[in-house]
């Protein structure tokens, strides 16, 4: 069964001076345990899409269904890594407390264990006692990732989660995500600007058009469940898919650069 079903979804932001249609008539589904990458031009409506799925904004048109029931309000068992990661951390809580914050149903020790584990996974084992504003941009972003992972959601929405980390860390985090997805069978919807990343991570890649976003293509990525940074990226399939996505994004014929 489909975990997530998006049906005729559209959203228009209303303002005093005119309204702005961010997304329009989006249709797609995501199966349970799938990892779908979303790519699209800047400002096309990817963040808006994630927000509607998370139930944070009520779409102007269409529906989002989770497990067959229509989303109305924030669904359970959901975690989001926001694009604006620095603002999504609570400045009055230390890094560890930030990660522990959503885990209120757990016992204290379990909470701590989860936080320590998640922070170690993103390479921030030593930063637990610091406050968010004492961290670099990339470190803050990793705290936000650690918080989402520690929550162990069944649906994980990530909005450009690796934008601010260096290449090396990015690779490690990508592999971390793949591993966790395998282990916990998490469904992931991940927005990225890195075409390579979308192909490397995704079971499928959803290509969106310019604003208002519509679905341009829905590509399957037949690279198998286990991937590795060097082998996979060097494979012919990978290079071909990458070029395909890039071409779709440019809106022109597929060209390899």
């Amino acid at each position: 069964m489909n975990m997530l079903e998006v049906d005729g979804l559209g959203h228009t932001y209303k303002g005093k001076d005119g309204s702005h249609t961010a997304i329009d008539g989006l249709d797609f589904t995501v199966g349970a345990g799938e990892l779908v990458c979303v790519v699209g031009p800047s400002g096309c409506g990817k963040s808006t899409l994630l927000r509607t799925i998370a139930g944070l904004i009520r779409p102007s048109r269409g529906t989002v269904s989770l497990h067959g029931t229509k989303v109305d309000g924030v669904p359970r068992d959901l975690a989001v890594v926001f694009q604006d990661y620095s603002r999504s951390l609570f400045p009055w809580l230390s890094v560890t407390r930030n990660v522990e914050f959503p885990l209120r149903s757990l016992s204290r020790t379990e909470r701590e264990a989860r936080a320590v584990e998640a922070l170690a996974a993103v390479g921030l084992a030593a930063a637990g006692k610091k406050y968010p504003w004492q961290l670099s941009g990339g470190m803050q972003q990793r705290v936000a990732i650690a918080r989402a992972l520690a929550y162990r959601p069944s649906l994980l929405l990530m909005d450009e989660p690796f934008a601010s980390v260096d290449a090396q860390t990015r690779f490690e985090l990508e592999d971390l995500l793949l591993r966790i997805r395998r282990e916990q069978d998490t469904t992931v919807l991940l927005v990225t600007h890195d075409i390579d990343e979308s192909v490397y991570l995704g079971d499928r890649v959803l290509v969106l058009s310019k604003s208002p976003a519509t679905v341009v293509a829905h590509l399957d990525v037949p690279l198998g469940p286990v991937r590795d940074q060097i082998g996979t990226r060097a494979s012919e399939d990978f290079v071909e898919l990458r070029a395909k996505v890039a071409g779709l994004l440019q809106g022109g014929p597929v060209s390899v650069r």
């Binding site: 944070l56 604006d84 609570f90 400045p91 209120r104």
Partner: protein, 266 residues
């Protein structure tokens, strides 16, 4: 900057102001200026103050009033924060209660005396008067702070389906806290002022009662001594509150403009 220069900085203007006050009043007295009777020099006030404050007046006039004032202020703080968060985060609460609160807030406390006299009586009205007057700065500032919670943080909280308490105490309150403290500091002095005003009616003791009696009995030195006492009390309570604030807001990257100034030497 070392401790000493900081302390010196803290007191230099105060000391200069008192010195100037002394000088002006002494000169006025020496020249026999018309109103000098009502403006005694601070040295004289200090002598009277010593006798007044540390006599039996302490237990009789200072302690009960100050106790009421602190209690009233604390209650006002709790109510103000609670309603502030409610009104700041709930459109409905604001729609229904906002008007009533704005109406009540605008009634000058002395005009409210009839209500309190009617409701709790002449002798018991001090406490409600203090609470009623001291609520507003906390309430309004909390509303402001609660409404100002950053949008991304609101969304983060909603995504993780925080419980109501966690949302209120863990997100809204901390982000409103700096503004709450601004309100609490304003309320503190208002509570002290209302303590004085409320002691004008129906009471046989209290600083306000003594102050007005000194005024009526043409004892300006005593009157000034009571006024100075209010200043001293205000300063002391404020200092304690500031220490509390520093602890509660320790997480803040202290203070943006100040650190900027220090980091760059100007």
């Amino acid at each position: 900057m070392n401790r000493f220069t900081r302390t010196a900085q803290r007191w230099v203007v105060f000391v200069a102001a008192v010195a100037l006050w002394e000088l002006v009043t002494q000169l006025a007295e020496a020249s026999g200026a018309a109103m000098s009777f009502f403006f005694p020099p601070p040295s004289e006030i200090a002598l009277t103050a010593k006798d007044l404050w540390f006599s039996s007046a302490f237990g009789k006039h200072i302690v009960p009033g100050v106790g009421r004032m602190l209690g009233g202020w604390a209650l006002a703080g709790v109510i103000g924060v609670a309603f502030g968060i409610l009104l700041g985060r709930s459109r409905h609460a604001m729609a229904y209660l906002g008007a009533v609160f704005n109406f009540l807030r605008s009634i000058p406390p002395p005009l409210l005396v009839p209500f309190f006299v009617a409701a709790v009586g002449t002798t018991n009205m001090q406490f409600p008067t203090i609470v009623f007057g001291a609520i507003w700065p906390v309430l309004l500032n909390t509303v402001d702070g609660a409404r100002g919670v950053d949008a991304t943080k609101v969304e983060t909280a909603r995504v993780f389906r925080l419980s109501r308490t966690q949302w209120t105490l863990g997100v809204v309150l901390p982000s409103a806290l700096p503004k709450v403290f601004a309100g609490l500091r304003l309320s503190l002095s208002i509570a002290l002022i209302l303590m004085v005003i409320s002691e004008l009616v129906g009471s046989a003791n209290g600083i306000g009662n003594q102050l007005v009696r000194a005024q009526r009995d043409y004892e300006p030195t005593a009157m000034w001594a009571w006024i100075v006492l209010l200043g001293v009390l205000g300063y002391l309570f404020n200092t304690v509150l500031l220490a509390l604030e520093r602890r509660a807001l320790a997480w803040q990257p202290r203070h943006s403009l100040e650190t900027q100034a220090l980091a760059t030497g100007g």
